[in-house]
Amino acid sequence: MKRLFMLAALLSLVLGVGHALAQAAPNFDDPAEFAKQKANLTAAPANPSDPIYLQHIGTDMVDTAKFKKPAPWTLCFSNAATDNPWRVVGLKNMQAQVAVDKANIKDFIVTDAGGSDDKQIADINDLLTGKKCDILMIAPNTTAALTPAVEKACAVLPVIVFDRGVTTKCPLSFVHPVGGYGFGIAAAEFIAKNVPKGGNVLALRILPGVDVLETRFSAGKHILTDAGLNIVGAEFTGGDNAKTKSIVEDYMQKGKIDAIFMDAGATAVAAIEAFEDAGQPVPVITGEDQQDFLQKWKADKLTAIAPTYPNYVWRTAILASEMVLSGKPIPGPEWVLPQPSITADTLDKYINTSMPPLHYAMCGCEDFPDYPARWK
């Protein structure tokens, strides 16, 4: 009997059937948001002469005069997790900005929720009861679960939310790049332009159920289908290189693949290698701004594009906090940062062969005094 239980436990772990069936279906297909992000992708920022991590699309500002406080300040940050290279690079961006402004910042307190809503709610509570923070930055783990905690924090402190959003308007600003639809639009439009009608597109996705990833695919699906392309499969890779390579190999056997659409680029090189190892030409591919993909793209002269989800949003969060505490107005209630794609024309500018493979080129970190050492 004991043995049976263990077996059952083991199998349920392996399968995760419950997980797959338990997914609800929130709306990741919002035409209004799609149109807005499509416009924002090409919109000129209101302050084009500033560095890209300070630019904003749209001119709405919020007044922060009442939060002005003499320096030095204690900045607090409740982080959802540091569980993937994008977040690792982002946190380094924050630390680098804090190091630059150390005359004004006496302390930078970071809590890491390890991808757990409960832990992050407790973290925010701890930061509030500690009474050390002058301002609180929050990168929420999930939207709905964290909203009440963010509202609670708003009552006590100035709050900046960035990366993923919440459903309350109480934070001073929600700092984010154009968005998931924008990412999907940039990728899919490139494919539609480079693959003739009737071509086969394989979509490789990381995870189900994450809003910023779901919207990338939903936008992509619309554009690809409208262009008369055929989505032969949409597979979840779990961000696993080996699985990605296997999936692509299997689809190559099923039929010709004319393009690969990726909703995140961490496994793009594994997908490319599947074609290389089979001795076939690499089709049109969309990746992201990871160094390994950019370098492979250049070396093999691929037909590719790298839409980005710019990593400099992390740096902007620190800068926004400092502006608030200095009483300067900041873009809000949403600070929409530009979201450029890396194209064949701009590729060389972003390649740096001395950086780690999963370094994000759109980090906006090149002008830090300790670049590149801190990111290596």
């Binding site: 004991k2 696993d240 290189n241 089979a278 390994d292």
Partner: protein, 330 residues
């Protein structure tokens, strides 16, 4: 009714008389046939070799895991060891192709050390292996994270990736021969021999079946168990080298592999509390898991349906293994 009963008795007595075939081989053949019906090109040498190449890391890992299972333990640390192997390789190599050989040697030392610690903690400190290796898994994940700072720092050079990626081409009859397949055959042949033809293998089965009786009979059960953990950890190192070679550096290369390896062994008829298990059947179990994945890719089912189908196939296969054990009495 009575006819059926007679048939049943006859069937079961036939099973007793003849050396019965482990049903996992049957399941595997059925799955491969299903894939081939869906996609005839699958049986062409090139595709089939690629399939085996893909299965190699898990097959080797499972063949090592079954040693620990047979001895009555679990080794949950191998997934994290794979991750550490892949990340460690990229860190140690720092993009220098000449470093490959000493890096590989160092990785084996690391693997042996991890296995030794696992074994000693279980045997000397009497920590249940589930907990001991869970602790090791968490520790190794932490070490990998600490070492790399969360994102790998270097690439794996082509000379390192040779084992997991390179195909020897121009072989008459089969076209290509992946290096990973050669590694698989050599390692599995060795482990097969070790478990099924040596005195050590017999002691291992005895220890897992009845530790008290083996101890009274003078079996050095401590040493036998520690060696099982070392074998499992070394198979993790080999799997890590192949996996890193197959798909390159990634910060979570080994995620979930420990459970897949245990599942493969159970599919192959291994008993979770020790005393029973087979290297070749475990390898067949691992290839079966890979085949399920491929079949589902070819079927193109929607994702939730796919998880459910995968689960049903697994439960069915394990149930078949249990049924056969009950009726064949072995």
């Amino acid at each position: 009714m009575s006819n059926e009963a007679v048939a049943k008795v006859e069937a079961s007595s036939r099973r007793r008389r003849l050396p019965s075939i482990n049903p996992i081989y049957l399941v595997l053949v059925l799955l491969i046939a299903a894939i081939a019906i869906k996609n005839p090109a699958f049986l062409e040498p090139l595709q089939f070799m690629n399939f085996l190449k893909r299965a190699a890391p898990l097959a080797i890992l499972s063949a090592g895991q079954v040693f620990v299972l047979v001895a009555g333990g679990f080794d949950l640390s191998v997934g994290a060891l794979i991750t550490l192997t892949v990340i460690g390789a990229s860190m140690l190599q720092s993009n220098d192709p000449n470093a490959t050989w000493w890096v590989i040697c160092l990785l084996f030392v690391l693997g042996a050390l991890v296995g030794l610690i696992n074994g000693l903690v279980v045997v000397l400190l009497r920590v249940p292996s589930l907990i001991a290796t869970l602790g090791m898994m968490i520790t190794l994940t932490g070490v990998a994270l600490l070492w790399s700072g969360g994102a790998p720092k270097g690439y794996l050079t082509d000379s390192f990736r040779f084992f997991g990626r390179f195909n020897i081409s121009g072989i008459p009859g089969i076209g290509i021969l992946p290096v990973a397949l050669i590694v698989l055959v050599v390692v599995v042949a060795f482990l097969w021999w070790l478990m099924h033809s040596t005195n050590y293998g017999r002691l291992l089965l005895a220890v897992g079946d009845n530790p008290r009786a083996s101890q009274l009979a003078g079996v050095p059960i401590g040493r036998v168990r520690v060696l099982a953990f070392v074998v499992s950890a070394l198979s993790g190192t080999v799997a890590g080298i192949l996996l890193g070679g197959f798909s390159g550096v990634s910060p979570d290369a080994g995620n979930g592999y420990e459970l897949q390896a245990i599942t493969a062994a159970v599919l192959g008829g291994a008993q979770l509390l020790g005393g029973r298990g087979s290297v070749p059947a475990t390898v067949a179990g691992a290839v079966t898991l890979t085949a399920i994945f491929t079949l589902l890719n070819f079927l193109g089912l929607p994702n939730p349906v796919r998880s459910a189908v995968q689960g049903l196939i697994l439960i069915g296969a394990v149930a078949l293994a249990m049924y056969r054990r009950k009726h064949a009495g072995r």
